[in-house]
Symmetry: D2
Subunit: 287 residues, 4 copies
C-alpha cells in the first residue's frame, strides 16, 4: 500500500458575471484507491457543490463565482492498494462476455475515432495473441512512434492527428492508444489524475492523462507517455476521452494562472514509506 498526499492550488481571475467552472479534481473513490481524508477550500463566499456523475462516478465540482479572484485549494491523502497481477495471466474478455456498462469504452469518441483505424489496428495487432501483452504492445507501439513535445497539439487534436503528426503530450498518446485498443475490440478509457515521480525534465508536477483498458474483468493501467511511474498515479476521473474529463471546463471570460501541484509519499500505518516503482506486473485500482 502506498500513501500519498496531494495538494492542488488553482488560481483564476474571473472577469465577467455568470461565469461557471466544472472541475474534476477530486480523487476518485474506487475499489483500490481510498481517500483517507480530503479538504477543499475556495475563497470566501463562492457557491459550489460536488456531484457524482452517475455513469463514471467521477466527482464533479461545480463553482459559480462572481467577478474577481477565484482561489481553489484541494488537499487529500490517498491510499493505493493496487490489484497486482502477472501479465501472462490476464486475458482479453470476449465481446460476448463484456459487461454492458463497459461497452461505451468500445465505441468511437471525439478524440478516439477508432472506426477510422479498424484496418490499421488489425494489420498491426490482429495477428498477435489476445491478452495483456497485446495491449502492452499497443502501448509500446504508440510510445515508439510518438515524441513528447509541448504545445504541438491543441483542443481539436485527435488520435488520427497524433498518428500522422507523431508528436504530442500525454493526452494525445492516451487518445491514440485508446483508439487502437477499441479498434481491436479491447475496451479502453481515458483517465486523468496526477502522478508521483514524473520525469522532472518535463517541468513541474502537472496533471497527467493515461489509459485504463478492460482486461480479465478489471481496468488495468497503461501509460503510453512513458514519462511516469504508473504505480504513483492518483486517479481523478475517467471518460471516453479528454472531452469528458477535463480537469477544468470554464465558461466565461476567465484568466487562468498555472496550476501548482504537489504530491509526496507519506508513511503508512506501520510507519513505512512505500515509494512507487516501475514494476513489471499489471496494476489496477478499479474493477
Amino acid at each position: 500500500m502506498i500513501r500519498l498526499a496531494i495538494h492542488l492550488a488553482l488560481d483564476y481571475e474571473v472577469r465577467e458575471p455568470g461565469s461557471h467552472f466544472i472541475f474534476n479534481i477530486h480523487a476518485a473513490h474506487t475499489e483500490r484507491q481510498r481517500v483517507l481524508q480530503e479538504h477543499l477550500d475556495l475563497n470566501q463566499g463562492v457557491p459550489w457543490r460536488v456531484d457524482t456523475d452517475p455513469a463514471t462516478l467521477n466527482r464533479i465540482l461545480r463553482v459559480s463565482p462572481g467577478p474577481g479572484p477565484l482561489r481553489l485549494r484541494y488537499a487529500a491523502t490517498i491510499e493505493l492498494d493496487h490489484h497486482v497481477a502477472q501479465p501472462a495471466a490476464i486475458p482479453e474478455v470476449p465481446i460476448a462476455q463484456l459487461p454492458t456498462h463497459v461497452l461505451p469504452s468500445l465505441y468511437p469518441s471525439r478524440y478516439c475515432p477508432s472506426d477510422r483505424l479498424l484496418r490499421l489496428a488489425l494489420q498491426e495487432f490482429g495477428h498477435q495473441v489476445p491478452g495483456y501483452a497485446r495491449v502492452q504492445g499497443v502501448r509500446d507501439w504508440v510510445l515508439r512512434r510518438t515524441t513528447f513535445k509541448s504545445n504541438t497539439s491543441t483542443g481539436t487534436t485527435s488520435a488520427l492527428d497524433t498518428l500522422l503528426d507523431t508528436v504530442g503530450v500525454c493526452r494525445d498518446f492516451a487518445h491514440l492508444m485508446i483508439a487502437l485498443c477499441r479498434a481491436i475490440n479491447v475496451p479502453a478509457r481515458f483517465t486523468t489524475g496526477i502522478d508521483y515521480g514524473a520525469d522532472p525534465a518535463l517541468g513541474p508536477t502537472d496533471f497527467h492523462a493515461y489509459v485504463e483498458a478492460y482486461l480479465g474483468g478489471r481496468w488495468y493501467i497503461f501509460d503510453p507517455s512513458g514519462t511516469a511511474i504508473p504505480m504513483g498515479f492518483v486517479r481523478f476521473g475517467t471518460g471516453r476521452d479528454a472531452a469528458d474529463v477535463a480537469f477544468a471546463t470554464i465558461f466565461g471570460d476567465v484568466l487562468a494562472g498555472a496550476p501548482r501541484i504537489q504530491i509526496e509519499v507519506l508513511p503508512d500505518d506501520q510507519g513505512r514509506l512505500v515509494m512507487p516503482w516501475h514494476c513489471p506486473e499489471a496494476l489496477s485500482t478499479d474493477a
Copy 2:
C-alpha cells in the same frame, strides 16, 4: 395519450462462431413513454439477455448466436403521454444550473465535434434570444441547408462533413443539429427509435434518429430531418451520437437482411384512436 403497436423483424445469417450482437431495439421506459406490454422472440436456443445501461437507461439486448440463421421478433405496445408546453415559455438552462448528469450532452463526441463549430454557431445563433425558439432555429437552419439523399453518408460521416456536403440522412441531420446546440451551450443528445407517419416517399418504415435538447429542465424533441411527425416517435435509446446507440452493433461475419418494421395506432382505454399530428407545441417524454 397515443397508443402505438410496433413490430420489428430482424433476420441475419451468422457465418462464423463467436459472433455477437448488441441491439438497442427495446422501447425505452421514460417518464412519459410507458411500455404496456412487449414480447421478444428469438429462434430456438440462442442465448440472450437484456441489460439496462447505467448512464443512459437504454435497454441493451446482447445475443450470442452460433452459425446459422438468427431471427429476432420484437413487439410492443407503447403509450405516449407527452409533456406538452408552449415554446415561448421554455427557457434555456444556464450552465451553472444544468444538472451534472446532463453535462456529457454538452461535450463534443465522435460525430458531433462541437468544439470545431464554436465560432460558426456563435456567429449564426449567438445574437438570438436564448430559449426554445433559438433551438428550433438551429433545427430550421439544419433543415434548410441539407437535403435528404440515401447513401450519401457512411459510418465515418461527422457533423462537419454534413455541414460541408449539405446532404445526408436523418442520422446526419441529427448530428449536425446536436453539434451546433452544444456549441451554444445547449445540451443535446442523439435519440433513436421508430416513427409513426414517416413520409412514405422515403421508403418503408425504418429506424429513425432525432434530437433531444435539454431546455426548461426537460428533454424536448426536435426533428431536423423534417420528414416525420415528432408526436409519433417511439424512443429506443439515447446517447452522445450514433456511436452510442446503433440499433445493432454486430461482431463477426454476418449477413443482414433488411429490417421490417411496422407501427400502427391502437385505440386507447376509452376506445379512441388518437393519431399523431404536427402540433406547434413543444413535446417531451423525458425529464
Copy 3:
C-alpha cells in the same frame, strides 16, 4: 497609371550548411504591370539566381547561403496600367471556351479542396446569374462569414477549416474564395504581392494574398480580406494556392527576422501622383 516604389528587407541567420531558400519576391512582369527598374542585393558572396517558372511565369529566386547572416534587399519601381472594366459587362467563360492553360485553376488543390464544396457552392451561388457580380458575391460571402484574426491559422489550414472556423488571415480568405469559385466552375488562383494602402490597424505593411478569377477572358482581381485597396496591389506570383507561392520557402535551420516592407507612390512621367483608390470597376493586370 500608378507608379509605385517598393523596398523589401529580409534578414535571416543561417545556422547550418546546405541551407537553401526559394523566394518569390520579384515583381511579376505582366501585360499591365511593368517593372521599370529593379535591384536585388544580397550580402557578399552568396550564390543566387533568378529563374522563371514555365507554368506561372513567377520569378523564382534561389539562394544557397553558407552559415551566417543572410541579408536580402529588393527594390523596384512598378507601373500599373490596369485594365478597367464595368462589372456588368464581364461574363463568366463557359467551360468549353476556357483556354487549356487556365484549366489547372479549376481543379482542387492542397488548400482549396473545391471537390468538397460542390454542393454547398451550388446551393449558395448556383441560382445566381453567372458573371462578375456572382464572383463578387462569392467574395462578399467570404468576407461576411470570416473575421480577421492573426495567429488563428497554420500552415495546414485549408479552405474547409476556414469555412468552419470563420477566422483567419488574408491567405485563408483567399483559399476559401478560390475553393468556392472553382466549385461553381470559375477558374481562380492565389496571388501574392504587397499592397499600397493596407489598413494600418493591421500592423506594418506586410505581404498580401488575394485572388484572381478568370472572367471575360482575363484574370480579374478580388480581395476577400476586405482590408486592402486592390488598385494598389503589386503582384509577385500566382499559383494554385499558398503551396505554390510562398514568398520564402526555407530548407535548413534558419532563424528569420520580421520582413520590413515599404511601398510608396511615385510621380509618373507627367509628374502626377496617382494614388490607388477604392473604385467600383473591375481591375485586371493580366490576360
Copy 4:
C-alpha cells in the same frame, strides 16, 4: 526498345446541351516515349481539339458534344526506349540543385498533403541513405501497408486517408508514395497511362496511375501498386496528383460506359517481339 499498340474505346451518352469533356488520353511525347502513329476518331460532327498544357506538356483533348451518344476511339503505336540505370548509381538531387521547373513536384497538393507527413516521413525514412534505394524503400513501405481493394476510395480520398485506411487502388497508393517522397524533399509526381501486363486477377486492362520521382536529374518510374510491370507503362499525363490528370473530366449530365482498353506488343523494326519484364534496373522515359 519496346513497341506497343494501344486501343481505347470510350462511350458516353450525353444528356444535356452544353456538356464538355476534358480528356487526357493521348500518349505523351517524351524523350524516351515516341508516338510512331496515332489516330483519334469521334462520331460524326462533334467538335474537338487537342492542346498541349504549357506546364506539363500533357496533351489535352477538349470535346463539346451535343446531346446524344459520344463515341471516342483512340489508337496509337508507341515506342519505348527506356533510359535504364543501376539503382546504386542514382543519387537524390540536393534541393539547391533542383531545377526550378521541378519545384512544384515538391509542394503539397490536394491528394498529397505532404506538409502533414513531414515528421512521420522523417521518422520512417530520415535515417536512410539518400538515393534511389531510399525512394524504392518508400515504395515498398506503401506496398506493404496497403491492400488493393476496389471501391474503397472515392474522389475525395487523400494520401492521409489511405495511410489510415490501409486500402485503396493504384491512384491511392501513388498519392501516398508521392506525399511521403515530397515530405523527405524528393520531387514526385502523379503519372497516368495504361500498362501492358497488368495482373489479370484485377480485371480487364484499365487505366493505371503510378509515380515518377526526380532522381539523378531524371524522372524515374515507381509502381507502388505492385500489380503491374513498369517497363510496360505507356504514359498519358503527369501532374501534381489525380486532380490534374484525370483521364476524363466531365461537365454536364453524362452517362458513362466502362472504358475498353487493349494493349499489345508489336514487332520492332527488326521484327523482334520485345516483351516488358520485371527488371531490377531503374527505368525512366523523361528527363
